[in-house]
């Protein structure tokens, strides 16, 4: 991936959604959706339907960008959870329920059962989450439409990793912008707090991690594209990396922007909590990132799996060593202690 920017078409659609969400998902509307409608804004759902999100189709990059914008606006809809099934099968309104709870707002859920993927009616009690929406631990009924095999299940999960990551990074970037704005206005000890390195450097660290995570979202989307040799979802190593980095960066943003706001950030009156509660909740809804990273470690240590890796670092395929290093290191040494 040489061009690190979103492609022009995706940028255009992303900008249009961002403009709409700036009005329709403003913080007061997010608060109202949480207080009055269980975290789902019916007006916003209608608006997004009218925008055509239910029929969204195209490159993985487009889905990633839409998820990014929905995260950035803390959009009170349960759409990102349906993106994998929509993107890879064309079926709308179906949450992916392979691991962890799913939104109560969607009545259909895709489950993995042995070697097949089946769409079932959501089954189980809804519980209010700390992020303000309602979630269900789906209990499989064994009844529904079979839509694919283990291969599809694998692709759906990897696609979910991409859009989950994009949503987290979008929310993180918006929270950072909110924190920077505050740090540029708030005065303490007679000075703008953003002039103190203790504050400014926190925000600079957050910016580095979030930008890195956002660039990983774009690269993972790039690797997912059939035009670049992908199967419609990021390859396993990019699926792991994009999600793990997004979780780390978004959580880091939440912790640090709270610190910048001091006591005000703990007050419900300020919007920091709107972001941090969602970031922390979204980060915990699927698998834990640690075991995923350990799996990535196993992947690179297995010669056959390592040789099949694509587009990692500066390598096109695998991780070949320069000739001199192969010869120098061939003698070997003590293994890991």
């Amino acid at each position: 991936m040489l061009d690190e920017r979103w492609s022009e078409d995706v940028e255009e659609i992303g900008d249009a959604i961002a403009k709409m969400l700036a009005v329709e998902s403003a913080p007061d509307k997010v608060r109202k959706a949480e207080e009055d409608y269980g975290g789902i804004d019916p007006e916003l759902v209608t608006r997004l339907d009218a925008f055509g999100l239910g029929e969204l189709a195209g490159e993985p990059e487009l889905f990633a960008r839409v998820a990014f914008e929905l995260g950035k606006a803390l959009a009170s809809v349960a759409f990102v959870e349906t993106m994998p099934v929509l993107a890879l099968t064309g079926k709308a309104g179906v949450s992916l329920g392979f691991s962890g709870p799913v939104p109560a707002a969607n009545v259909l859920v895709a489950v993995r059962d042995g070697g097949e993927v089946r769409i079932e009616r959501l089954n189980g009690p809804a519980r209010r989450s700390a992020a303000g929406d309602s979630l269900v631990f789906h209990q499989t009924t064994g009844e529904g439409e079979t839509i694919g095999d283990a291969g599809l299940a694998d692709r759906l999960q990897r696609f979910a990793d991409l859009v989950d990551a994009a949503r987290l990074v979008g929310a993180g970037q918006a929270l950072l912008a909110y924190g920077v704005d505050y740090a540029g206005q708030r005065e303490q000890f007679g000075k703008i707090i953003g002039t103190y390195q203790g504050v400014a450097h926190r925000l600079a660290r957050v910016a580095g991690d979030l930008d890195a995570a956002e660039l990983l979202v774009r690269k993972a989307a790039f690797t997912a594209s059939p035009a670049n040799g992908g199967d419609g979802a990021p390859p396993p190593h990019f699926a792991i990396m994009v999600r793990a980095k997004a979780i780390q960066a978004a959580r880091f943003a939440a912790t640090n922007v709270h610190q910048v706001f001091g006591g005000n950030g703990f007050a419900m009156e300020y919007d920091v909590q709107l972001y941090s509660r969602r970031i922390r909740s979204w980060a915990m809804r699927g698998r834990r990132a640690g075991p995923d990273l350990a799996e990535l470690g196993r992947m690179v240590l297995d010669p056959a799996r390592r040789d099949s890796l694509t587009m990692l670092w500066h390598y096109e395929k695998g991780m070949p060593l320069p000739r001199w290093a192969r010869e120098a290191d061939a003698a070997g040494g003590p293994a890991a202690s």
Binding site: L2, E4, V180, G184, K191, I192, G194, T195, Y196, Q197, A200, H201, L203, A204, R205, A207, G208, D211, A212, L215, L216, K219, H237, M241, A244, K245, G290, P291, D292, L293, A294, E295, L296, G297, R298, M299, V300, L301, D302, P303, R306, L312, W313, H314, M319, L321, P322, R323, W324, A325, E327, A328, D329, A331, G332, G333, P334, A335, A336, S337
Partner: protein, 373 residues
């Protein structure tokens, strides 16, 4: 570059390393620099007749490949920086003299910037140049001293930042002079560093510098040198060599996942991920530069990310490989290289501007916060 790497076996790399050891300069080899010149790889982005008019991203990928293949890239970096400065700010006579000789690998450069009392606060510099005219011609008389002048003892020219207006302060009243390290009054003293090489303190005692060696306008030297600093921040500080070390470590441990703890496997996955992230930040700077966009905020972000990552990785890698990385001599090349990198990485968060300075720039230029105290 990969074809070049395929021709280089361990015996050839050992010869390069022996030359680097004899020169006592970090990752600097005249033999390899000449090889790059023969291949026409110096100044790729410069316009013809000196360069090839390549895009910045093409040069960026070439430099990345060079470092990731383990070749000594410092000579290319520092000399292209010197050439870039003359290209941008020099006069016709300077370009005519220097540019063909740079691409031929003959003219080499180092930077005389920091002073004993002007490190991170570079603009506190005191080295002064006074213009004088006598029987010997129109020239500057330079007095002062510079420190951390890497490769001064092997370079043909020092790009020296001096104060030419004694009434000025900070970025005003500065000029850049090209100084031959062999001129009378120039004394180069080694400063030995943990990496195993020398940087230098250079003393200037009534050094006569012809006015023809002024680069750019007198008292406008800050504009000349900031182009260099921007280029420096766009360099990879630690990421490329860490990727090579990590790849070598992975090959060393190939098939041994069962012998690693879950914590170490997770850490390995973490570094694979972070090195990808670091590369993307670094790549962004290269692509922005290629599009002539402002990199003054993203460059420092990339620099601080890569340098801190390099330190985190090497601490873990040495710990993982174990006791063999305690030693500076031994037959295990990978362990020896890891041990050396443990020392070298110490300075990555300092050279080219400390992490603190970089974060000041990120918060100011990238985030738009007021200047930090």
């Amino acid at each position: 570059m990969r074809a070049l790497a395929d021709k280089c076996g361990w015996a050839e790399m050992q010869a390069l390393r022996e030359e680097i050891e004899s020169l006592k300069v970090e990752r600097y080899s005249f033999a390899f620099h000449r090889r790059l010149a023969e291949e026409g790889l110096i100044g790729l982005t410069w316009p013809e007749p000196w360069g090839k008019g390549a895009r910045v991203d093409q040069q960026f990928l070439m430099a990345e490949e060079l470092e990731c293949q383990g070749f000594p890239g410092y000579g290319l970096t520092t000399n292209q920086r010197g050439g870039g400065m003359i290209m941008r700010s020099g006069n016709d006579a300077q370009r005519e003299e220097h540019m063909p000789r740079i691409v031929a690998g003959e003219y080499t450069y180092c930077q005389g910037l920091s002073e004993p009392n002007a490190g991170s606060d570079l603009l506190a510099l005191k080295t002064k140049a006074v213009r004088a005219r006598d029987a010997g011609g129109d020239h500057y008389i330079v007095n002062g001293s510079k420190i951390w002048t890497s490769s001064a003892h092997v370079s043909k020219f020092i790009s020296l930042l001096v104060r030419t207006d004694p009434e000025s302060s900070r970025q005003r009243g500065l000029s850049v002079l090209l100084v031959d390290p062999g001129w009378p009054g120039v004394t180069i003293t080694p400063v030995w560093v943990m990496g195993g090489w020398r940087v230098n303190q250079v003393f200037y005692d009534n050094v006569r510098v012809p006015v023809e060696n002024l680069v750019g306008e007198e008292n406008k030297g800050w504009n000349v040198i900031t182009g260099n600093l921007d280029e420096e921040r766009a360099m990879s500080f630690g990421g490329t060599e860490t990727r090579l070390l990590c790849a070598r470590l992975i090959h060393r441990l190939s098939g041994m996942a069962d012998r690693l703890s879950d914590a170490d496997l997770e850490k390995l996955g973490h570094f694979v991920m972070e090195l990808e992230a670091d590369r993307l930040l670094y790549l962004r700077v290269g692509m922005q530069a290629a599009r002539h966009e402002d990199t003054s905020g993203t460059g420092p972000m990339s620099k601080v990310y890569g340098s801190e990552l390099a330190q985190q990785f090497i601490e873990w890698a040495c710990d993982l490989v174990g006791h063999e990385t305690l030693f500076t001599e031994g037959d295990d090349v990978l362990a020896a290289d890891l041990e050396q990198q443990l020392r070298v990485a110490t300075v990555l968060t300092v050279i080219g501007g400390t992490s603190e300075v970089q974060r000041n720039i990120v918060s100011n230029r990238h985030l738009g916060l007021p200047r930090s105290n």
